[in-house]
Symmetry: D2
Subunit: 195 residues, 4 copies
């Protein structure tokens, strides 16, 4: 399917899922993985809602230094071991998959071309880690004038304290909504925004 | 293999192969394909030389509006029909493959992160089309201070005249070397450059 | 005046004036300057029309390697000698002035933030040189999905032949309108565009 | 002076001074200004050391939505009222001055072209605010593989707590050195880095 024909629409939003296709094999992953699983359960529910609305779901995923890889191989490799996070959030055929080589999903990736084609100006950010890739993707999105919701129950960090700080910085410095999905629905979020 | 450990080296160069994984199914492709095949024969020889030197070969290829694709699928699709260009230049496992969504290989792609990791400041540009993706990738490379060789027998355009004009603009405006590989070898090119 | 409050409007266009604040003291400037003066006369008429419509006029000008400069000093320096081009096109207080360090007006400049704030998706490109800064700014504008008019009588190159080639490449590869202002008015151009 | 001739040198570093040419007239400025003054005293000492070494000092400063401004006018405007921060840190003629339209000093500014010309790969970040422009400039610098020192006594935030969090995120997520200048000298910092 080509993204070329879609039109900008005020209401429409995009769901970004950061680094959840992940081998969790780096230092600190033991702390991150159970927290990522809780975030994955929330993200999966959001993803279903976006699928129902036919709004775009975009995986924005690190290549983890593996420059000869591609989405299907990154997913296969993440699923080689028991990996409930990636298993739960396996991309479906209609989802987009952007490979990023650095922390921010906007830096040296196809994302800045894809998003205007998808006609979204509002992004829901989910995934890991709150104080690294989520934070710096949020900053780049804000600088490109996207409106942000980073549901605090759909993101995770190795260290809960640093995750909380990052959320407060996103709320204060980037004007991001950070309410949990238990407190705010997609429709309530959209209704809360001025046009 | 990770690109993270490679070191910058003055002599080392990178070979960029533009849009040669290609279905040649667009208007004008009938004019382009035979010319692309001549360029592919030259590019294949250059590629062998780069492989022998263990210098990086980087496919920089359009997604042709197919946002749900990835390298292996782009290649498989290009090989569905008789396609001597893509068949000759099928990427090998050690080659890099960067997907670009627009004309320039540097715009919204992983390339600006990969090239510094590969330690190259000198690029040989090959592929199609001389007056579009080759020209605008060359411009972006020049603005990022890469030294360029665009061998005139390793690039092709639908229209020979526009291809020639683009080569003259690359030579004049971007300081690119544009000699044919029959007139200049890789070693001669490198020797001609001041350090 | 802040650019923050302006709204996107389909009809509105922006006028870009490239490198016309210029000392014309480089090799080849003797060939370029009389051609630039002819382009300046056309550009000045366009500028008046844009002022009357209260549409943005944006100087996008090289720093010519002078990193300690700023707009007022670049203008003062260009006016130190007899310089009919810069004298004719002196920016007025309402015009914007973007300093660019490389060929393209979009590369490492404030322009990608300013244009969305000005609410323009359509650009008229004028100035020098057709086969360098105009061509590569046009390419970057096209990749960012701006609609382009490069009036052939509002741009100039050192070499008429290379200027003509660059115009043909802009027409063919970038879909740019290149009619002269004697053949096409601003209103006719806008009317010719699909929305 | 042109930046075109300088060479890369491992030891050389650059000093970035963020948003200290500032009217302090926004909400929260009353909290920020006294903290900024303490940071300015440290930054001024660093600046003297950089001047003595003939290493580049680069002001990276917001246009504060004032798109018709330029460095000299931004400085004059900041000095209209009693403003000890800007008065202390007035740029000297040899210092560079980059205007940024968004939080990060790298986003849509001339900085990505200037830094390679200055031959620096190591940056000392100073200024305001720790949890906004300093943090997001640091992230962009890290993604472009610059080595960072953000001296905690040379930066300031409106809210001390958020400033401290941002410093911890820079230390943890970006590998930044954050020791105070009372604990670490420029030479000690450089000696601590692997080449």
């Amino acid at each position: 399917m080509s993204a070329g024909k879609l039109e900008t629409s005020g209401g429409r939003a995009g769901l970004l899922i950061l680094d959840m296709v992940n081998c969790f094999d780096f230092p600190g992953a033991d702390d991150l993985e159970p927290r990522a699983l809780r975030a994955a359960l929330t993200t999966d529910r959001l993803r279903q809602q976006f699928h129902e609305r036919e709004w775009p779901v975009i995986y924005v995923n690190d290549n983890f230094g593996e420059w000869h890889s591609e989405p299907s191989r990154l997913i296969a490799r993440a699923l080689e071991n028991d990996n409930p996070v990636t298993r739960l959030l396996q991309p479906s055929d209609q989802d987009y998959f952007i490979i990023k080589p650095q922390f921010s999903g906007f830096y040296s990736t196809n994302l800045p071309v894809l998003l205007p084609r998808l006609g979204v100006r509002r992004l829901v950010l989910t995934g890991v880690a709150t104080d690294i890739c989520v934070l710096f993707t949020a900053a780049d999105a804000h600088m490109r004038e996207y409106t942000l919701w980073v549901p605090q129950d759909a993101v995770a960090a190795e260290d809960d304290k640093r995750g909380k700080w990052a959320l407060q910085i996103m709320a204060q410095s980037l004007g991001a909504q950070t309410a949990a999905t238990s407190e705010l629905s997609v429709d309530e979020w959209l209704a809360s925004l001025e046009d």
